[in-house]
């Protein structure tokens, strides 16, 4: 893994994989081969206690505004989603699961996310609340003062999927787990979501103003002094992370505390996290640590545990902020196979390059004209 990571800072790799494929992005972005190591987050959801210290610490450091008072009914999640005014978001998933099915799916009972004996074994339970709760919660939405913010779900069935055992079915019809089904057992998953700081960042690639840029740490940051609120980045993000504030129109998201990084300080969320669910460091170290952690969980029988966003070969060239999940990504509301919109760009590179130059020249003319 270490060798592989080092290999990402190879000139040939960087040339060939500018727009797609494994890459160490900072050298490619003009910082040279001696750019600082790529920094990132490893969020280990198996030790998350859902306290939301990350959400608050982020807002306190970055002066992010509040998002209003809306009870969402999505378990203890009243943030709803990552938005321009919520750069960390803790998702809570109340999941009724049977012991047998847990075992079938590689979830160790008594492991990181299942109680031993099962939480409600031997108790007089009947129907489960989770699917109905999730479906109803999904229709509530939230006024966050941002766009697209946290809109009500057009299809509550998707929320039902998140709340119940994810069976890999594409639709909201879940065999054996219809609303009102028997509660056999239960687990409560928590996960602190954040901007992924993709290796190939769709938001950055489509930003016409240079407001989004790649930092020397390999992270992706919106520059508030540049952003003009055009909103192109919103559709460019394969994770649906980026969002605009309605009042100033600009896009805002996690900066991985760019200012703190410059002084070798830990990002605010990672520093606050009581249980080290959010770990910060050089990405190659985090990837090694995550691999060890995953191995340990697998040894404990938690074979459903998986890493998400750690693979440099994936559709975004791997994430600068990746996760250890205890279930399918969809259960946490994460896309299973995100792809950067520029995947097909290399084939069209010449044409696009010409177009870009033309546009740049046009922009230059316009800019100079305005200055004078």
């Amino acid at each position: 893994m270490e060798v592989e990571n080092r290999g990402l800072r190879d000139e040939r790799v960087i040339r060939e994989n500018r727009l797609y494929g494994p890459l160490d992005p900072a050298p490619e972005a003009g910082y040279g081969m001696d750019a600082p190591p790529r920094m990132g987050f490893f969020t280990d959801t198996s030790v998350c206690i859902g306290c939301k210290a990350c959400e608050v610490a982020c807002k306190e450091w970055n002066n992010v505004p509040e998002t209003g008072l809306d009870l969402l009914g999505m378990s203890f999640d009243n943030t709803g989603d990552l938005t321009a005014n919520s750069w960390r978001h803790v998702a809570f998933i109340e999941q009724p699961v049977s012991r047998e099915k847990l075992a079938d799916r590689g979830v160790a009972v008594g492991g990181q996310a299942g109680n031993e004996p099962p939480a409600f074994e031997g108790l007089p339970t009947s129907r489960t609340a989770a699917p109905e709760m999730a479906a109803r919660a999904a229709t509530t939405g939230k006024e966050t003062g941002t766009e697209p913010g946290v809109p009500p779900s057009p299809e509550p069935g998707a929320a039902v999927e998140m709340a119940t055992e994810f069976l890999g079915m594409p639709s909201s019809v879940l065999p054996g787990r219809l609303p009102g089904g028997e509660r056999t057992d239960f687990r409560w998953l928590m996960m602190s979501d954040v901007c992924k700081h993709c290796t190939h960042a769709g938001c950055l690639d489509v930003c016409p103003t240079g407001a989004l840029f790649r930092t020397e740490f390999g992270t992706v940051v919106v520059q508030e002094d540049i952003c003009n609120g055009c909103g192109y980045c919103i559709s460019g993000c394969p994770y649906g992370v980026i969002d605009q504030r309605k009042d100033d129109g600009r896009a805002w998201k996690c900066t991985l505390c760019y200012d703190r990084l410059k002084d070798d300080m830990m990002p605010a969320c990672a520093k606050a996290c009581p249980t080290e669910s959010i770990q910060y460091g050089p990405l190659d170290e985090l990837r090694e640590r995550a691999a060890r952690r995953l191995e340990k969980l697998h040894e404990q029988g938690e074979t459903a545990a998986r890493l998400y966003g750690n693979d440099p070969e994936d559709g975004v060239g791997g994430d600068g902020a990746f996760f250890l999940l205890l279930d399918e990504p969809e259960v946490y509301g994460l896309p299973p196979d995100p792809v950067v919109p520029t995947r097909d760009a290399p084939a069209m590179w010449k044409r696009a390059g010409m177009a870009a130059l033309t546009m740049a020249a046009a922009a230059a003319v316009a800019f100079v004209g305005r200055r004078s």
Binding site: G32, E60, D205, D259, K262
Partner: protein
């Protein structure tokens, strides 16, 4: 700003001439981004404190700039919290700088429906008068059998679990010397 500096500060110029041909990194870096530093570094002072919420006792570092708290975060030296904080501790800056915070004396006259303003010194003087009067109104020298009581039941106090030991010490000392035995705090709940 000279023309050359200005030109060099222009992203497209940097993109075309620098090491960032796609203009997604160094070339796009704005002057603000280039100069950005953590505000903890530029604070005027830092005080070492303790979180005011629960009783775990997490160490905090309080940064002040131009007479305002600009950041509160966990003290990594503390063997209790190792720099970490929960959401409440992490919201400490918000607590002390909240727009809802009331920093003026407010006075509600009996039978009034509104607050009024009141000068701090006047309020202190009025409160002292009321303490003396309430103390006298229900002063008890001795009980029915003539045993000393030395006390008043005229006023009472509630609170202390959010205060400092030194404050509680003075409160109990003052109440006791005034003969005011009715005092309680959150430890009873």
């Amino acid at each position: 700003m000279g023309v050359r500096t200005w030109i060099e500060g222009w992203p497209v110029y940097r993109q075309l001439t620098g090491t960032d041909p796609l203009g997604r990194g160094l070339a796009a870096m704005s002057p603000r981004s280039a100069e950005l530093r953590p505000r903890t570094e530029t604070a005027d002072s830092m005080a070492r404190s303790v979180c005011p919420y629960c009783a775990v006792g997490c160490g905090q570092r309080v940064y002040v700039k131009d007479g305002r708290v600009t950041q509160i975060e966990g003290d990594p030296d503390s063997p209790i919290n190792r720099g970490r904080l929960c959401p409440k501790g992490a919201a400490s800056k918000n607590l002390v700088t909240s727009k809802f915070r009331q920093t003026r004396v407010r006075y509600r006259r009996p039978y009034s429906t509104e607050w009024e303003d009141l000068d701090l010194d006047t309020a202190m003087d009025m409160i002292a008068d009321r303490v003396i009067a309430a103390r006298a109104a229900r002063w008890e020298d001795v009980d029915d059998s003539g045993r000393p009581l030395n006390r008043t039941l005229g006023f009472s106090g509630l609170g202390g679990a959010t205060l400092d030991n030194e404050e509680n010490y003075l409160i109990k000392k003052l109440f006791t010397a005034l003969g005011a035995i009715q005092i309680e705090n959150q430890a009873r709940i």
